[in-house]
């Protein structure tokens, strides 16, 4: 079984400041890792994903995430945020084999202030 913990429920930050949204997971099998973004009153859209290879992955809108196997973490970062980045962000894991359900974290609400 897998589980995902997003360590912060809300993250307020000023415009143009850097931000890190933290995600830890546990799993007894190898997993794929994802970050999704949800803008107000919309569905979720895929921001980036880690499948294998380089542990630093880049996504849309200037976001990147780093997979750390020893710490079972997949933190999301952006060096300079914009007002338009205000949204809810979900970390998720999916087993590579044996099952096809994705497990989502509870979400982190990023609020960018002017």
């Amino acid at each position: 079984a897998q589980s995902v913990t997003q360590l912060d429920s809300q993250v307020p930050v000023f415009e143009e400041a850097p931000v890190e949204l933290r995600c830890n997971y546990s799993s007894s099998v190898s997993v794929y890792l994802f970050w999704y973004v949800q803008y107000p009153n919309q569905g979720l859209q895929l921001l980036l994903k880690y499948l294998s290879g380089s542990t630093l992955v880049k996504g849309i809108n200037g976001f990147e995430a780093e997979f750390n196997k020893s710490q079972t973490s997949f933190h999301l970062r952006k060096p300079s945020v914009h007002i338009s980045d205000t949204a809810e962000y979900f970390c998720a894991v999916s087993p590579v084999t044996g099952g096809f359900k994705t497990i989502f974290g509870a979400g982190t609400r990023l609020f960018v202030k002017a």
Partner: protein, 116 residues
């Protein structure tokens, strides 16, 4: 542009009504999912389907049923709507097995259901 389409963005229904939420995907995906999203509770899986006419209960199936008669369509049914089913409902689809799982989910825009 590939997509998942949910038939309604906003819906208001009365207590006791039978409610149908429709979801259609055009990506030939095997798997389809229904979630509900509530503040502070994240996404909770209601039902999912990995093939036509196949369905599996998720974490909170009580009060709901589903139908998948065609590969592209997955319907969520509230047999007798209650006020505690007021929520945002999200449909998603994904490729079936193996490395296809690495593509992640494609979500619809959501249906905000209010039961009065």
């Amino acid at each position: 542009d590939v997509k998942v389409t949910q038939s309604s963005r906003y819906l208001v229904k009365r207590t006791g009504e039978k409610v149908f939420l429709e979801c259609v995907q055009d990506m030939d995906h095997e798997n389809m999912f229904w979630y509900r999203q509530d503040p502070g509770l994240g996404l909770r899986l209601i039902y999912f389907s990995y093939d036509v006419k196949m369905k599996e209960k998720g974490d909170i199936p009580e009060g709901y049923s589903v139908s998948r008669e065609k590969k592209e369509r997955f319907s969520l049914i509230l047999e007798s709507a209650s006020t505690n089913q007021t929520s945002m409902y999200l449909c998603a689809s994904s490729q079936g097995t193996g490395r296809g799982r690495g593509y992640g989910y494609t979500f619809g825009s959501g249906t905000r259901l209010t039961v009065v």
